[in-house]
Symmetry: C2
Subunit: 608 residues, 2 copies
């Protein structure tokens, strides 16, 4: 079983009838001493209200609201919060709090670092009911309510989920339903063509009819399906561009098919030229999403949601907020995060995401989006997330999706208290260490927001020029004098996509925050940073510091009283992280030293 | 059917009894007008003698000598050589003229660029008899007489060739026998451990007994097996080092097991540290073979042959001769070449190897080796070698293995005359183009002998720093001032492994031939070449020239009257080669421009 759930052992029957029943069973098991009455108020939906009258507690809520209220109460009591206030009320900020699994029908997980798929084996749905129930419970315990089970890159035969696989899909949906979780399916835009229709053109009547019939068939099997998720015209996926149609036309056609059933159509905006010529300096990949979508504002049906990654590139350690999230006021938008540590250490390196998400919500007014999604970081490893401490990212994401106003650092602290029986001092050490982990990782990897200096394809470990002459639009153009791409108005113009206050923050390299400096600017190595150091010295310093702090982190972790099973995994991975950090530090420093010829100002060893 | 054999159509019966019978059938089919009497003289072995007495021709030879004599006569007559001299005598310089296939039991071919294996499917031997007969005939027609059918990296279940697979092996040997070809098998040094023996230590009596019994069993099934081929203690392969034994002890134990049956033990010398730390400047990979083997001279049994790659690295476009080939006077040695175009264009780019091999034999006295081997370039593509013109490398290799004294350029010319029905002018164009192809490829790829600027693992296309921070010992250490590794006496000392005349040729960068300059020296970009150009300008010039010459090559090829099937393949690959050459040219020039800051002296465009 996983992490924080260990505190709440329960034995649930194999057949649960409703979230309300689940809530009651959870409460009876976790808080048998407490007299709690559950009162279902359909109109409250996912929200709940707790009223204390003396020793008695009334929990009011919609069906799933009761379940979320139960978990609130369980956390509150388990953490010794004292007397429950007379009145507690809560409702989720976003009604769709989604997990996207990149699971393939053959059981592999794209960018998965915690084992194989929990849902697929040998081309079809197949699962261990006990593990699925735990997973569903994990989701409920942190308020997640939509689960897209298959990869957005729909590899054959994942299309069968909408065809022969429907009975399995319905059985799986039944496993999740008592935990308030609805399924979603990634669909292949060209699927009608598997059925003798010569086109997938969204304006073709046959195509429209096929999707309408398919939606009807799917919803008869899974009436509460959340909807479809689509990656179209992206990295080789088919889409409406093939037929000269806009993405509004493409998405609306599917949305129309889902409308009678209340289904949503989630449409990913990860569209860019992934066959860019490295010699082409006109194209600037971060501009792509805005360029493709901004002009379509207001044209999408009201059950379409555009799902936009947090940054304009692709889940790098540090990116500014995607400007598209701030634009398109007349379009439903969802923020997409990635729990899977694709570019952030493969769940080998410790990387707690809360500080990163805090930055996102600092710049993203809550009301600009109406839903939130994250790529899962789980698999069939015994602990679900590979690295035991990676579970915090799932938990934090869930609570943040309920209430993005909470400081995510508080959630990390809560998770540690729930997960480990530590002294206050040890708890403080671990929380501090987790909260610093992203910054440490950032220091020893690519400098100051430049990103992409990773081993191509695999994305673990350094390769400073691995993508430099490739097709992916991710260049640093480091030469003997300078490094970076000028994305200001006088450069590629990417910064013009932002509202004035953000553009002003980044536009001037003298005032641009250091950590974003090389994301937006091309600067000489001799550039003076605000603190007086040169750019090249800052690069060296960060890398030496990152390595040193990793070694310190290792020492601290070794002293913490983790349960043995977790301890073994954590320390073994920490050793690999130390190796990784040393490799990054030396490779990146050598790379810049060979280019710049500038020795370290403190005489530390840089290999030549 | 393949290339030059098209000139000699024949229908051979499914069951052939001997090379002598094959020779007679070939002659009858190819030269029905000629009265040739075959006279077997066992003592002549592979040699033959042709005597003309008026209209009658006597062909004398050992059993396979008759077959080689028949092919000599067929080539001579088909090419209209005029009257046969009264007396022709020939015998091979090396008695083992070997092909090494890197074929895996699953049907893939490691570094194969012409389709799948001709021998393996689904974990076992399986073949198309007609194609195998053509392959055997192809080998006979260019004198090749030993065929090692499985990869030196013995992947499970290739070990079964010595066990359950023996009946299949015997049937395959029978297919090749009438063409004078004997099989050889790559073996896994740890194979005894699959049979309950807890060690593979060569000094262990149980291990020795297992190999002796195995050899006996194998030779009962295939009495004329040429022997075993072993890659030990290399790139993860098991070997005697595991048990603290020398490679002489390791090889001799296997040789002992083969001795009663007349088998040879071919032992590859491709041993180096493939887990080198890029920060380590003491280790220099080209030194590895000499360091591992030279001190063992005289210690190997007389049926052991050390197989040594032509260069000290690994089949780069240009390497100096491996010094080990010139050393170890009291050891049997074989030269290993690679027909498969691993680093030389994947049989997409045109690359005729004759000029490269001519350089090898210029420096390698014939008597320093007693055998010759080459990694195959064939697969189950209809034309066997993928690129129709790649067949020339197989043909040239065979004839060169018979007589390394021949100018291999002559063989290329012969192959073209045999293969295409061209006018003398077109023939001249094609031969010139083929003979220049290696130099053109060299120009647009890594400069002046430095090698390794290829896409890691795949080895097609440029990646100037792809191996720079990796474990393989292949570094150029280019910085803003200079590039290369100093391998002279004052550097890593690699040059000290050579005899004086070769050391003197390379030691001084002022006199070292340009094309080897960066193999042996670290030089500043401002270095003055013999012709007055700077090193950096020479790099730019070569790359622009290489691209221009590739475009010219394309135009010439388009005008040549190839048969349609060949033409389509040749021109389609040529298009890919042009793309490849442009990519190399621009990436390498940009890489050095970013480092050096020196613009092109002729104002040509280098991307920044």
């Amino acid at each position: 079983m996983n992490a924080w759930l260990n505190r709440f052992p329960v034995s649930l029957p194999e057949r649960l009838t409703s979230p309300e029943e689940t809530a009651a069973l959870e409460l009876r098991s976790a808080l048998p001493e407490l007299a709690v009455s559950l009162e279902k108020k359909e109109e409250m939906g996912e929200g709940f209200c707790l009223r204390r009258v003396g020793d008695r507690i009334r929990l009011l809520g919609g069906e799933t609201g009761l379940l979320y209220g139960a978990w609130f109460l369980m956390y509150f009591c388990r953490l010794g919060g004292g007397t429950l206030p007379d009145h507690v009320e809560s409702a989720p900020r976003y009604s769709l709090r989604m997990i996207n699994c990149w699971d393939n029908p053959d059981g592999t997980v794209e960018r998965g670092y915690a084992g194989m798929s929990l849902f697929f084996r040998g081309g079809r749905l197949a699962w261990d009911p006990a593990r699925i129930r735990t997973l569903a419970r994990m989701m409920a315990s942190c308020s997640l309510n939509v689960l897209c089970i298959n990869n957005v890159n729909v590899h054959d035969p994942a299309q069968l989920l909408l065809e022969d696989g429907l009975p399995d899909l319905a059985r799986l949906a039944a496993e999740f339903r008592p935990f308030g979780v609805r399924l979603m399916v990634s669909v292949d835009y060209s699927q009608p063509m598997r059925h003798g229709i010569p086109t997938a053109d969204p304006l073709d009547a046959q195509v429209q009819a096929w999707w309408q019939e398919t939606a009807a068939r799917v919803y008869r099997a899974v009436p509460d399906l959340a909807g479809f998720l689509v990656k179209a015209d992206s990295e080789g996926r088919p889409g409406p561009f093939t037929y000269g149609r806009s993405h509004a036309e493409g998405a609306n056609m599917l949305a129309e098919a889902l409308r009678p059933w209340g289904g949503m159509l989630v449409w990913r905006c990860f569209v860019y030229n992934c066959r860019q010529d490295w010699r082409d300096t006109e194209t600037d990949r971060p501009k792509a999403a805005w360029d493709h979508y901004a002009s379509l504002d207001g044209q999408f049906a009201d059950n379409v949601i555009l799902q936009i990654k947090n940054g304009p590139f692709d889940f790098q350690v540090r990116e500014p907020l995607s400007p598209l999230l701030l634009g398109m006021p007349n379009t439903h938008k969802a923020l997409e995060l990635q729990l899977a540590q694709e570019y952030t250490g493969h769940q080998i390196d410790l990387y707690t995401m809360a500080p990163m998400w805090q930055e996102i919500f600092r710049d993203l007014p809550e009301d600009r989006i109406m839903a939130i999604a994250a790529v899962s970081n789980w698999g069939d490893d015994a602990n679900y997330t590979g690295h035991p401490l990676a579970a915090v990212n799932l938990f934090t994401y869930g609570l943040l999706a309920w209430n993005p106003g909470v400081d995510p650092r508080e959630i990390v602290s809560l998770w540690v208290r729930l997960t480990y029986d530590f002294s206050p001092e040890d708890k403080g050490t671990l929380v501090a260490l987790m909260l610093s982990s992203r910054r440490v990782y950032e220091k020893y990897t690519a400098p100051l927001g430049i990103g992409w200096m990773v081993t191509p394809h695999d994305h673990y470990g350094p390769n400073p020029s691995g993508y430099e002459y490739d097709l992916w639009g991710t260049y640093h153009k480091a030469n003997r004098e300078a490094v970076g791409i000028d994305r200001t108005t006088s450069g590629t113009g990417y910064l013009d996509q932002y509202p004035p206050e953000l553009r002003d923050r980044y536009e001037n390299p003298r005032t641009c925050p250091d950590l974003y400096l090389l994301f937006f600017h091309r600067l000489p190595y001799a550039w003076r940073m605000k603190d007086g150091r040169t750019l090249i010295q800052r690069i060296y310093d960060d890398h030496f510091e990152g390595l040193r702090e990793t070694l310190e982190m290792q020492q601290k972790l070794q002293r913490l009283p983790f349960p043995e099973e977790d301890r073994n995994i954590i320390l073994e991975r920490m050793e690999r992280q130390v190796h990784n950090a040393r490799e990054w530090c030396d490779v990146i420093n050598t790379f810049f030293f060979r280019l710049s010829g500038v020795p370290d100002g403190h005489g530390r060893r840089i290999y030549d």
